[in-house]
């Protein structure tokens, strides 16, 4: 049986990075508290001896508060023969000593590894390693040291010892307190906010603005598939195969892959903001303002990117810890008009506004207002804002690259495949009639289906299958709506009120299938489809309301809005019920785990909490005498 070495330390102390180095593994290392939630173990060779190194979840106290802490403490308790390798940040050594003393009081083989020495010294700290080792009574190493591995094999043959709970500040010089000069500027509202706004604007422009990087790359891919390869496929003799290759496969591939550069760019900016610590500062600066609608600074990044592309923005919500907020952000993202809706607004607005530009501005403002309303309406009690200021540092290129490649891979595998399937389906339905013969759009299967759907738009004065066709093609890509209108009509023949109502419908309806696919990846297929259905139905009702209010008559507005509001209320209550169910299951599970781990079931939740508070107080007295 191999010797056991358990890695014990605070969350985010660098245990997992150390584990990877010692075992040459690639366990995922995250930048936030709570990544390791299970014991990872791997065997390795230490100076000729086989040893099994186990990476445990981070703990703060031997009493163990959270589920992860309890798990780790029990794991350590159950293996009195295992050696303990303590891992602590240089800056936190003082708070860590009591825990080391507690875990080794009965004598265990142990050693201490200090991490993040560079940052500690940069912030003005200093530590005398040999003196610390003598004071505490166990070998101490620095994480960067080459002799660490030898130290580990020495650990295996060492005698058990107990760490002395002593005051380290006699030999450890603490870091300079207070805010760094950079932070004094960044966290100042008058300087920081404009700076961050400028950064976000820069990111947005680089990704979405015409003629700049993101747009250029998108055009490049479109050109490759649709113009270049599409042109080459003109030579295919069979009409059906040619259509399949040119309008089906190549067009679909091109339309899907052209998302890739912009999604990649957005993720790159997001990772850079996060790794550099800037996102943390942005969140802290803006928390007060956005807390009122239940959003955070981090969520604002995703919402702003929604002006460029809804699907890409949805993928950026991945990092949001608060899953409730993530769902709300995803729900209200489509209302923020993506760049693909712009041609539609322009095409329609000529009919109802003399100045199309003003019409577009109006629509955008309406969209943002709707989005905020939805976010506010579905706001639940969010966790209070409490966060550590992330260190300000230059992003590590390798880490950034790895994260980016991971995101791209995820997009291709999970999202792109779904979109591709839909594109091909849409091509098929719009190129063939029911006898499976190649035909024009007007005679295709899709057109026939739209004949049935046209009644949906009758209340706004446009009971025409072509309107339904245009709307349906918007499901594939919002740009298609403008294209469909141009193809089927030439110029828009209906009244201004109808045109505006239709624009409102496009504004509020479900986003394109790419965004739905991205949503499905984040919150699940069922939910994504539910959101899409809800958005489309409510968009229809909203467009009716707008139309009726435009042609005069408050009664009609009330009639149209009533089912909408009813639907909202039902939706909210359903969410409450399902959430209550989940909370109950969670509480049940926690009670069972507590009973299992402690051996004796807790008398009541109150008692347990009181015990927790007591322990918290008592444990800390040890380090009070500084």
């Amino acid at each position: 049986m191999a010797d056991l070495i358990l890695l014990v330390g605070n969350p985010n102390a660098g245990k997992s990075a150390l584990f990877n180095r010692l075992t040459r593994a690639h366990a995922h290392v995250g930048n936030y508290h709570g990544v390791t939630v299970d014991a990872l173990s791997k065997e390795t060779d230490l100076g000729g001896r086989r040893a099994e190194i186990v990476d445990l979840p981070g703990i703060y106290t031997a009493a163990g508060g959270s589920l992860e802490e309890k798990f780790a403490c029990k794991y350590i308790e159950d293996r009195p023969q295992a050696a303990l390798l303590f891992v602590a940040e240089c800056g936190r050594i003082g708070q860590f000593v009591p825990l080391m003393a507690e875990l080794t009081k009965k004598g265990r083989r142990c050693a201490l590894v200090l991490t993040k020495k560079r940052r500690f010294e940069r912030d003005g700290g200093g530590v005398d390693v040999p003196a610390l080792s003598a004071l505490l009574g166990l070998p101490v190493y620095l994480a960067e040291e080459k002799r660490l591995k030898e130290g580990l094999s020495a650990l295996l043959s060492a005698p058990p010892c107990a760490v002395k709970n002593s005051d380290v500040y006699a030999i450890v010089r603490p870091v300079r307190g207070g805010l760094s000069r950079a932070d004094k500027l960044l966290l100042n509202g008058f300087i920081g906010l404009p700076l961050f706004f400028a950064l976000l604007l820069l990111a947005f422009l680089l990704t979405f603005a015409k003629g700049l990087l993101g747009d250029r790359m998108k055009e490049g891919i479109e050109w490759l598939f649709i113009d270049y390869l599409g042109g080459m496929s003109e030579g295919i003799p069979s009409k059906i195969v040619r259509s399949l290759v040119k309008d089906g496969i190549l067009k679909s591939l091109g339309s899907v892959l052209c998302f890739l550069p912009q999604i990649a760019l957005l993720h790159l900016f997001l990772i850079l903001l996060e790794e550099s610590g800037l996102l943390s500062r942005l969140a802290i600066l803006t928390d007060g303002f956005f807390a009122k609608i239940g959003l955070s600074g981090r969520a604002v990044f995703s919402l702003l990117m929604g002006f460029g592309c809804t699907a890409a923005a949805v993928t950026t919500t991945r990092g949001l810890d608060d899953k409730d907020m993530q769902k709300r952000v995803i729900l209200c993202l489509p209302y923020i008009s993506c760049s693909a809706k712009l041609p539609v607004y322009l095409a329609l607005s000529a009919s109802f506004f003399k100045d199309p530009f003003a019409a577009v501005i109006l629509l955008y403002i309406l969209g943002v207002a709707l989005s905020m309303l939805v976010a506010l309406f579905f706001k639940k009690k969010t966790a209070p804002f409490l966060a550590e200021l992330a260190p300000l540092q230059l992003p590590r290129p390798l880490f950034v690259l790895k994260s980016l490649l991971f995101q791209i891979k995820q997009f291709i595998i999970k999202v792109a495949t779904v979109i591709l399937a839909f594109f091909l389906l849409s091509w098929f339905l719009s190129s063939f009639n029911f006898s499976f013969g190649l035909c024009s759009a007007e005679e295709s299967m899709l057109a026939t289906v739209c004949g049935g759907l046209k009644w949906l738009f009758a209340p706004v004065g446009m009971g025409d299958w072509r309107i339904a066709y245009a709307a349906l093609s918007g499901l594939i890509a919002k740009e298609n709506v403008a294209g469909a209108i141009a193809m089927l009509y030439g110029t828009f023949p209906y009244s201004g009120a109808s045109a505006f109502s239709f624009a409102v419908f496009i504004l509020a309806c479900s986003p394109c299938v790419s965004a739905i696919a991205a949503t499905a990846r984040e919150v699940g297929k069922g939910r994504a489809l539910l959101y899409a259905a809800w958005q489309t139905v409510s968009a229809l009702l909203l467009s009716y309301a707008v139309y009726f209010s435009l042609i005069g008559g408050a009664v009609y507005i009330a009639l149209a809005l009533a089912p909408l509001i009813g639907g909202l209320i039902i939706g909210k209550n359903r969410e409450k019920v399902s959430r209550a169910g989940k909370m109950f299951a969670k509480r049940l599970r926690r009670r069972n785990v507590r009973a299992g781990v402690d051996g004796a079931p807790q008398a009541s939740q109150e008692e347990g909490r009181a015990r927790q508070r007591q322990k918290g107080g008592r444990k800390r007295h040890a380090s009070f005498g500084r």
Binding site: S66, R92, L187, G189, L285, D287, A387, E388, R609, R620
Partner: protein, 76 residues
């Protein structure tokens, strides 16, 4: 004299007397270095007066007013 973090002025130091909350929030505060007996410094109050930035256990922690009100302190 019942004081909490919201009564501190910029740059003032204090000792935490008691953290008056339970469960997850309590765990998080303790983990970040805010527990009975810990020494903290108020670094700054936020733009909108809604947030507080303190220094505890060699790291800087931001919290909203609701949380700051739960930390009883003694000014030193």
């Amino acid at each position: 004299m019942d004081m909490d973090i919201t009564d501190l002025k910029k740059g003032e130091r204090a000792v935490v007397l008691k953290v008056e909350c339970e469960g997850d929030l309590f765990d998080r505060l303790v983990a970040l270095g805010v527990f009975s007996g810990a020494k903290i410094t108020l670094l700054k109050r936020s733009f909108f007066g809604h947030g507080y930035l303190i220094e505890a256990a060699n790291s800087r922690i931001a919290m909203e007013k609701e949380v700051a009100k739960k930390v009883r302190i003694w000014r030193i």
